[in-house]
Amino acid sequence: MNGLTVFALTGVGLLVIGLWALVLRAHLIRKVLALNVMGSGVFLVLVGAGAAPDPVPQAMVITGIVVTVSATALALALVLRIDTATGKPTLPEDRERDLMDEHWQ
């Protein structure tokens, strides 16, 4: 019996997808979305890699979810400040890149 369950594999997939998007997207809100997806992937690996429901990883994941939302809130407040200060919600090196939705509907 090893840790290779369906949900643990899904967690690895989410981690990789999130990292791909984190690197390649320019808009900071998209980067925040990517970080959240990566975090969810890690949580799936933590809880999903076991056979029986184990309360200790579950408690760690609850803690992780709450810390993730706090970090996301702080990150989004920083995104708004960056947009106010520089006029674009991107990192300085990404200013000329395609934000994928320049025309706000």
Binding site: V12, G50, L74
Partner: protein
């Protein structure tokens, strides 16, 4: 849509390298999951020790008794995150559009209901699924509904009640953790008889704090009427 890629967009070569690296990471993690034998897990140890703590729900027992230090630090992280958001600037203004009547009607049904659900989740967290975080987040949703429907809660946004609410959880946890040290016990080592009571006190204070902090994070900045 441009027909050729912008020079500063990562090109095919970089994307290919990234894809190869990520595939290696994925394969490595899968191999690790496949080859490492599963540890027996801590479920049995927790269940055996749960009798001593008096909490039937193993996750709550782990969160507030066996790994209470982690939860204490987590509440500290939430508090400092709110301080960080407050440090970044005043709260962004709400939109001036009047809220839809559907939202207002839903408010009068949902908000009292949510208060009852919060109390239930807090109480039932000792035996079944629930607990302080779940209850606090339902209460935070109430605060978000208040803000979205344009009503400023009378004691929400001014300084003192909100600050007291933010600090209440962390302060109660610290006070309990230090107070139990009286009889030569360790930090956070609950006396055997009153574990359940102390955990309930901590959870109640934490629920209020979590709700205020999460709602404050949604507000996104310092509330008005700052000194």
């Amino acid at each position: 849509m441009q027909t050729e890629r912008d020079p500063c967009e990562p090109g095919v070569v970089l994307r290919g390298m990234l894809a190869v690296l990520l595939a290696c990471v994925a394969c490595g993690l899968c191999w690790l999951l496949w080859s490492a034998p599963l540890a027996p897990g801590l479920g049995d140890a927790v269940r055996a020790a749960s009798a001593q703590s008096g909490i039937a729900n193993p996750v709550t027992a782990v969160l507030l008794d066996f790994r209470g230090y982690d939860t204490l630090l987590e509440i500290a992280v939430m508090t400092s995150t709110l301080v960080g958001v407050w440090a970044l600037g005043p709260a962004p203004k709400l939109h001036e559009r009047p809220p839809s009547p559907v939202l207002l009607g839903l408010d009068s049904a949902l908000i009292p209901f949510a208060a009852v659900i919060c109390g239930y989740l807090l109480w039932v967290g000792a035996t079944r699924a629930g607990g302080a975080f779940q209850a606090g987040s339902v209460l935070a949703a109430t605060g978000v509904l208040f803000i979205l429907s344009g009503r400023r809660p009378r004691l929400g946004l001014p300084d003192a009640p909100m600050r007291w609410g933010v600090v209440l959880g962390l302060a109660t946890f610290l006070v309990v953790a230090l107070a139990v040290m009286g009889d030569g016990r360790q930090f956070l080592e609950y006396p055997p008889g009153s574990t359940k009571t102390l955990i309930l006190v901590i959870e109640a204070a934490a629920t209020v704090s979590i709700a205020v902090i999460l709602a404050g994070l949604f507000i996104g900045g310092r509330p008005d009427r700052e000194p």
